[in-house]
């Protein structure tokens, strides 16, 4: 296949990790909660999936069931993290930045302790091809377009539709913009916040599983999930809080992330070792530029949710 087309597909597949992370974070942020625990949640989602897969990976269960068990484990662990975060920030009204950072510390650490003990033969070798169904036999980048890749696309599109085209989405956005007003019109603020945060965490957690078992399919992959989590938070700003746009934005981030290694194939561009770090810096620079431009233009629909980062207490005036 054409090397550039292959590169583009590869970036798209890699971007699915960010699609998961960012879509999860967008749902959480739309409820008014800045969840800096996403890197930890993604690690834990990956660890949960690997843990469950290591139990069934070499059993005689039908393939789709093994995949489902992996997804279930991932959802379970990330739900647990999401629940810790929601209890602390929603019910106990703790500071969101501090809670999120503590969750990242906890999640990244626990995920490493767990996955480090597992046998990669059990959770990885036998399951990788199952997750890559139906393209497991391909050798080019299409091989990554498996079950979890399509799930990412579907989740992003559905989230975008729910958020901007349904009543539930309207209520959720109202909660994130001004919880007191939402409360006054009879929206159950606490329930919306809890559900959005927990679902968001589950979605983000799947990103960790996809990266470890499917996209990388290597036993060291779990060590680099954290960095992707932070990049996912950056992507939320880049796509201006629109879930369906994450697919495009994630591909751009994927291109920027791995373009360095592809550029060496082009004779007329001279790539030195020093260029790679500068290229990897680009996603963050671009994000900052988007953040600045959107705040200067000050268009209402491009702003962060108005009550992002603030706790809501009904009796407070």
């Amino acid at each position: 296949m054409n090397i550039w087309l292959n590169f583009l597909l590869d970036s798209l597949a890699f971007g699915a990790v960010f699609v998961y992370g960012s879509t999860g974070e967008i749902l959480t942020e739309k409820a008014g909660h800045l969840n800096l625990g996403i890197p930890g949640i993604m690690c834990m989602g990956g660890a949960g999936g690997c843990l469950f897969l290591s139990m069934v990976g070499q059993s005689s269960l039908p393939p789709f069931l093994i995949v489902l068990v992996g997804i279930f484990g991932s959802l379970l662990f990330s739900l647990l993290c999401g629940f810790i975060y929601s209890t602390l920030t929603i019910t106990l009204r703790a500071n969101q930045n501090v809670t999120g950072l503590a969750l990242t510390t906890f999640g990244v650490g626990l995920a490493r302790v767990i996955v480090n003990k597992l046998d990669p033969v059990k959770y990885l070798t036998s399951t990788k091809s199952l997750f890559r169904w139906p393209f497991a036999d391909r050798t080019d980048s299409i091989q990554y377009m498996g079950v979890l890749f399509f799930l990412a696309i579907i989740i992003a599109l559905v989230s975008g539709w729910v958020l901007f085209r349904t009543r539930i989405g309207l209520h959720l956005r109202a909660v994130g913009e001004n919880p007191a007003t939402a409360d006054a019109v009879g929206i159950n603020v606490t329930r919306y916040k809890y559900v959005a945060t927990c679902i968001g965490s589950c979605i983000a957690g799947l990103g960790g599983l996809y990266y470890i078992v499917d996209y990388m399919g290597s036993q060291e992959a779990y060590l680099s999930v954290e960095a992707l989590g932070w990049l996912s938070i950056a992507l939320v700003i880049f796509v201006l809080w629109r879930p369906h746009m994450t697919i495009l934005g994630a591909t751009v981030f994927g291109v920027l992330y791995s373009v360095g290694s592809y550029l060496t194939n082009v004779s007329w561009i001279k790539v030195t070792m020093a260029t790679t770090p500068l290229l990897k810096m680009l996603p963050y620079v671009v994000t900052i530029i988007v953040l600045i431009v959107s705040s200067i233009r000050n268009k209402k629909e491009n702003q962060p949710p108005a009550s992002l980062g603030l706790s809501y207490f009904r009796e407070e005036r």
């Binding site: 602390l88 009204r93 510390t105 906890f106 950056a234 810096m281 407070e316």
Partner: protein, 376 residues
């Protein structure tokens, strides 16, 4: 009677109200209970994660003992504890002025890292060519300037256009990280990207101990920052901007000026922490030179209620846990990431305990009792 019944019928199961005030003793006992609960849960985590404890449960006592061993068993470990606490405290102190005006500076990591980077850059290019004293001063100036620059960029945009500072400063961390790996590629021609320890540019050793100077600097800084925040006009302006921007405007404080000035200070102090890392202990730079302390510093500052004196305690607590957990992972043969798990668990409990200090929980029947009391 009908009033009582009505009060009962309307009342939800749990009702929360904000406490008007709480005595210091009560607040601290809530915090201590929280830490104890956290330590208990750490024990449960030890059962789940450490095989040696699983096999012989009586080892759990040893598990707790190792926490203390990690920082106090030898004088070398104790000095390491003091030095690491000092560096962590320095970063937390740096973040405090910004937090006091509700400017969420999540960029301590990056601001410290560029401090390390520029101090090492000066050392790399000038080390050995100029007298050591001048080199150390130039390194300090470079670190302060770089930290201030990293801090003031988001502040300018926040002051001018209200750009979200939490996200902006967060992104600046990663730019700093890749800047470091860029320079490492340039400086190390072999391609290994690890810069060995440089020979020059080391802080003077006082009384045969390389850590004393760092500890003294940070203690002085703590006192100075406490006075700055508590007793000076600048400190007052920071508090007012933090409480209410409208009030600040009304009494004639230029909040843009305060934000920019405070972030220059905050960044500069992060740069100082970077200098302490570069000249005090590491004498080299890696992408992991700061090792997440920029983020831990946020938690330390918050746990200490942004009070420099209380942060002495909280930074020591975090460092105690850190070194204790590292000792545990060594003695019990567990992955070193166990450290983060233990710190995470304790933090959850302390974070949660703040709720019970700020709010009061009433269960159903409270109003009834109150009404009875009123009748009496």
């Amino acid at each position: 009677m009908s009033n009582l019944a009505r009060a009962e019928g309307r009342e939800p199961l749990i009702h929360l109200s904000k406490r008007a005030g709480i005595s210091r003793g009560k607040a601290w006992s809530i915090r201590i209970i929280a830490v104890l609960l956290g330590i208990l849960v750490c024990g449960i985590a030890a059962f789940l994660l450490i095989e040696k404890v699983q096999n012989n449960p009586e080892k759990i006592g040893e598990f707790y003992g190792t926490f203390i061993k990690g920082s106090f068993s030898t004088s070398r470990k104790f000095w390491k504890f003091l030095k690491n606490t000092a560096v962590l405290l320095c970063i937390s102190l740096a973040l405090t002025p910004a937090f006091r005006m509700r400017f969420w500076n999540t960029g301590g990591e990056g601001q410290t890292l560029v401090g390390v980077l520029s101090a090492i850059a000066v050392n790399f290019y000038l080390g050995g060519k100029i007298p050591e004293g001048i080199l150390l001063i130039l390194m300090l100036l470079a670190a302060l300037a770089a930290g201030a620059l990293w801090g003031v960029i988001p502040a300018i945009f926040r002051a001018k256009w209200g750009t979200n500072e939490t996200l902006f400063t967060l992104m600046m961390n990663y730019i700093a990280t890749y800047l470091v790996s860029y320079f490492l590629v340039i400086w190390v021609p072999s391609g290994s990207s690890t810069l060995g320890k440089l020979k020059n540019g080391r802080l003077p050793i006082i009384a045969d101990n390389e850590n004393i100077l760092i500890v003294l600097i940070v203690v002085a800084l703590t006192a100075a920052l406490y006075i700055y925040l508590q007793y000076t006009k600048h400190g007052y302006e920071i508090s007012v901007v933090g409480e209410s921007v409208r009030t600040a405007r009304y009494i004639g404080i230029n909040e843009r000026k305060v934000i920019i000035r405070t972030m220059i200070l905050s960044g500069m102090l992060c740069g100082l922490a970077g200098y302490l890392i570069a000249a005090g202990s590491d004498q080299t730079v890696t992408t992991n030179s700061v090792g997440g302390q920029g983020f831990t510093g946020i938690m330390v500052a918050w746990l200490g209620k942004f009070n420099p004196l209380a942060m002495l305690l909280t930074s020591a607590l975090i460092q105690l846990l850190n070194q204790g957990a590292m000792q545990i992972s060594k003695d019990f043969g567990v992955n070193s990431s166990l450290t983060s798990v233990i710190i995470g668990i304790i933090l959850f409990f302390i974070i949660g305990s703040e709720f019970f200090i700020n709010y009061e929980v009433h269960f159903r029947g409270h109003a009834k009792k109150a009404a009875r009391r009123a009748i009496k």
